[in-house]
Amino acid sequence: MKSRLARHGISAAMIGLTYLAAILATLPLLLILAHLIKKGAASLSLSFFTHMPGPVGEVGGGMANAIVGTLILIGIACAIGLPIGIGAGIYLSEKRSMPLAQSVRFLSDVLNGLPSIVMGIFAWTLLVRPAGHFSALAGGAALGAMMIPLVTRTTEEMLKVVPISLREAALALGYPRWRTSLSVVVRTALAGIATGALVAVARIAGETAPLLFTALGNQFWSTSLREPIAALPLQIFAYAISAYDEWHAQAWAGALVLISIVLVISLAARLVTRSKFGAPVD
């Protein structure tokens, strides 16, 4: 039997270690943000958003095509991912304990953990290989497929917190089930569902791996869905692994833009869910 003092000493030491863990775990994010701001802000200017990429060795130039490309890809992904994801989320919340609901829920979680590069080669085998060329459409479809399980689960979570009494009241008033579901339950949770959609957009906006062999990237201006298209993450990747300092600077600026978008959306989502449903779901 250890002495009382030793036991309390060990306890204090272990508690101290958890404090240390908390500091160490928050450190990487702060370091990354500090470096991004320090190195990215230097080469960030208005022309970054309005100009095309410059040739090697030339300071300046922008990523206008990549920013527009990313927006187009997000648009395609939303067109695929949002309706299906929200529909599936509604199904899960309406048919909570049906065997199909159970397995859909489980498979959504499993799909969420699937490596994004696997989604990339899936979209390639389905859309790029038969067509014979890379395309914005294939990239957007890969991102859209990634959105489906994300949106499904957040929609379900948001619908779950709608009180059952609301549903009962609407049904008692003679509303058909589908109108109860759409104009009472879904409408009540709409802000939450929109937040979930935003979070999903933030997740896929920064994805690179699924785009490598679908959207491919493009040094030129292109908005055609059937052509390869530039994307911010792809451009950052290409510039980061290049050998030129000017391109490295551009990569930092691009990363700063990308992470600003992602962080603003995450922060906004956090605030909306907190004000809407009391304490955030931890």
């Binding site: 863990a21 590069i117 489906i148 994805e207 791996a209 992602v262």
Partner: protein
């Protein structure tokens, strides 16, 4: 204004209404069910597409694709053993670094944190999961790798004399298995800590109070009363982090050095399955090369599927117990 007393019409209307309701409900159910069915269909479609593409390689190369370590595109030799080895080792390094930290944070947040600090720290750790992979990679190339090369690696090898072991020997290039492991640790940490925090919070208060009442110190309470209760959930969280680490592509590709060799030293460059695909897929011209890369994708798909399914099952086990 003339009233229209028409009972026949009302009944008709009511019948119509009931009819509409039934049709509306039916359509609504079909549409939402169809949406829900997309999820399992997607899983099946991914499996079929990838295995169909991988089949030529599997049938031609057989087991040598996993056992051979000779990946030579020109010679038509595709042995993915170095990539599989690299995936497993980098993920193991990541878990060794991330697990104690993540569980430490989770314990801190669920037990010891002052109330005002709980939200901000939890949020900062969660945000780690939101940072895009390519941003981690960029930071890895220009900040982490130089730091490892100039400070950490010489320190580990020469000061701590770990160079005598095979794991920390050899020249410090920078891009290495160690760099990949550290980046993956940062990326897996939020997943492990989020799940751990959730299951720790789910441990009943009475469990803690009973331990304290028996005279346990606060640490003994956590070790003997809280952690055993949350154990399977925490393991689920670790496996979830493992799933992330196994399939992570961009950040790893940018810092691991991309060399298809098996080396015991963590200072040596390596390859992972995901980075192999990322690097070579768009340039693969021969059918066998393409198929071999798809086969690597298929192996990755199966491994992550099993790890994720097991993780979810473990976490569900815990949350179901809580609900009862």
């Amino acid at each position: 204004m003339t009233a229209v007393p028409a009972p026949a019409i009302t009944t008709d209307r009511r019948r119509l209404h009931v009819h509409e309701t039934a049709i509306g409900d039916r359509i609504y159910e079909i549409v939402t069910t169809a949406c829900a069915l997309v999820v399992p269909a997607l899983v099946v479609a991914i499996a079929i597409a990838i295995f169909a593409g991988a089949w030529p390689a599997f049938s031609k190369l057989g087991l040598s694709i996993v056992t051979s370590s000779d990946w030579d595109v020109q010679a038509g030799k595709f042995g993915a053993a170095p990539a599989i080895f690299g995936t497993l080792v980098s993920s193991a390094v990541a878990l060794i670094i991330a697990t104690p930290l993540a569980i430490g944070v989770a314990i801190f947040l669920s037990e010891f944190s002052p109330r005002w600090l709980r939200q901000p720290i939890g949020f900062l750790v969660d945000l780690l999961a939101a940072v895009p992979s390519v941003v981690y990679g960029l930071w890895g190339i220009f900040v982490l790798v130089p730091l490892l090369r100039e400070q950490v690696m010489p320190f580990l090898r020469d000061r701590l004399h770990l160079g005598a072991t095979p794991f920390f020997s050899g020249p410090a290039y920078g891009p290495s298995m160690l760099a990949a492991g550290v980046i993956l640790a940062i990326m897996a940490l939020p997943y492990i800590s989020a799940v751990s925090r959730e299951v720790l919070m789910a441990v009943p208060r009475s469990q803690r109070e009973a331990a304290l009442a028996l005279g346990a110190t606060r640490w003994e309470m956590i070790r003997d009363a809280v952690i055993p209760y949350a154990k399977s959930g925490i393991i689920g969280g670790i496996m979830l982090g493992l799933g992330r680490a196994l399939g992570e592509t961009m950040a790893v590709t940018m810092v691991i050095g991309n060399r298809a060799e098996i080396s015991a030293s963590l200072f040596a460059p390596g390859y992972t399955m995901a980075s192999l695909i990322a690097n070579q897929f768009s340039e693969a011209t021969s059918d066998l090369h393409q198929s071999a890369l798809l086969a690597v994708g298929a192996i990755l798909f199966v491994i992550t599927l099993i790890v994720n399914a097991a993780a979810r099952w473990l976490v569900w086990q815990v949350s179901r117990d809580r609900a009862v």
